[in-house]
Amino acid sequence: MNTVKQSADGPQAQTKPSGDTAAASDWRRYVPWGIAGLVVWWLLYRSLAPFAAWVTYTLLPLPRGSRLGAAVEFFVYDSPKVLMLLTLVVFGVGIIRSFFTPARTRQILSGKSESVGNVLAALLGTVTPFCSCSAVPLFIGFVTAGVPLGVTFSFLVSAPMVNEVALVLLFGLFGWKVAGLYLVTGLLIAMVSGWVIGRLHMEKHIEDWVFQPRRGGGTGGEEETLAWPARLRYGVDAVKDIVGRVWLYVLLGIAVGAGIHGYVPENFMAAIMGKDAWWSVPLAVLLGVPMYSNAAGIIPIVQALLGKGAALGTVLAFMMAVIGLSLPEAIILRKVLKPRLLVVFFGIVAAGIMTVGYLFNWIF
């Protein structure tokens, strides 16, 4: 057995502040403010369409029915619309995330039977804060705490791929059907691919050092019970961080969309990325895997491809491959996965994404 060297500056047990009683009572104070905020948000949201029309045809004024008018109206309407949706959803998801630290998610998942675990892991992956740079400590933290390998993979697939920014953008630009299908199929890919990896019993393809004994005792600093002001601040921080990072890409995406909206699209993409080209879906996935971008960065490209006649399923498969699977992620995960398991993981998820691509092409 390996012994781990002890040192004086190691982790120590942390005393937890018990804020339970305060947390239970003070959330009610925020309900009226929450309702008032939502009403204001809704009124603003509702007035965006008349506002855009007024700016375009009265303030500027552009002739009604013109290409330029249509493009400007689309941009003036869609930019604040998508940014408002994004702010609301990111804030809400931020508050939900303050309840689901990785430590709590791990606690929920450890000891769950496989099928139930895969479903839960995929769902929790969407609401647990995650960044691909934390994939290794998270993977080891899960697997060594008794979360089954396949369940861990369901989490690792769903966390980056089912993404609230992508969901909002798809809803804002293509409607609730596309957004809903993205959400449901993304979760299904995470559940099924994790389940398949679990069935393959590939535990021996995890690098050996993962299971070396470690001195425990650290608390991860995530166990404290947050009071409501802290949760609200978590939501505000999420908005500042995420909306602050992606707003430019969003505007760029909408500008591309506006250009397409106003001017008749060419259809030269239809031949290579249209519905009739069966090989376009695997090609889109193959192109997407080595690329790495966040969900917002890929949306302008999605807009452009769709506008040029590419099929929705093909474009969605491309998007999922870019944000869900990437070369940097593979390099990071190679530290804990032996090559065969890494290849199986990417292969199964890629197959799932292609299935979704074909499904969308078939439905729409």
Partner: protein, 78 residues
């Protein structure tokens, strides 16, 4: 008394930012400190941290997976 600040993270830009903030906070508070960047994954895991970057003060994990502001870190150092 010198406090020991450790930054857990495998060297991503966020870790550097956290280290800068922590140093700035300690200096602003006039606290003598010693700063160490822990990049070895096994040592990070000994703290049971699953989200990086994490801030450790005198061996206790204070924050994980986020970059607190200089003012927030000042409160954690006290």
């Amino acid at each position: 008394m010198t406090i020991k600040i450790q930054i857990l993270g495998t060297g991503c830009p966020k870790c550097k930012k956290l280290a800068e903030n922590a140093a700035a906070a300690a200096q602003a508070a006039g606290i003598a400190y010693e700063l160490e960047k822990v990049t070895d994954i096994n040592r990070i895991l000994e703290f049971d941290v699953m989200l990086t970057p994490a801030l450790v003060v005198n061996g206790v994990v204070k924050t994980a997976g986020k970059i607190p502001s200089i003012d927030e870190i000042k409160a954690l150092l006290a």
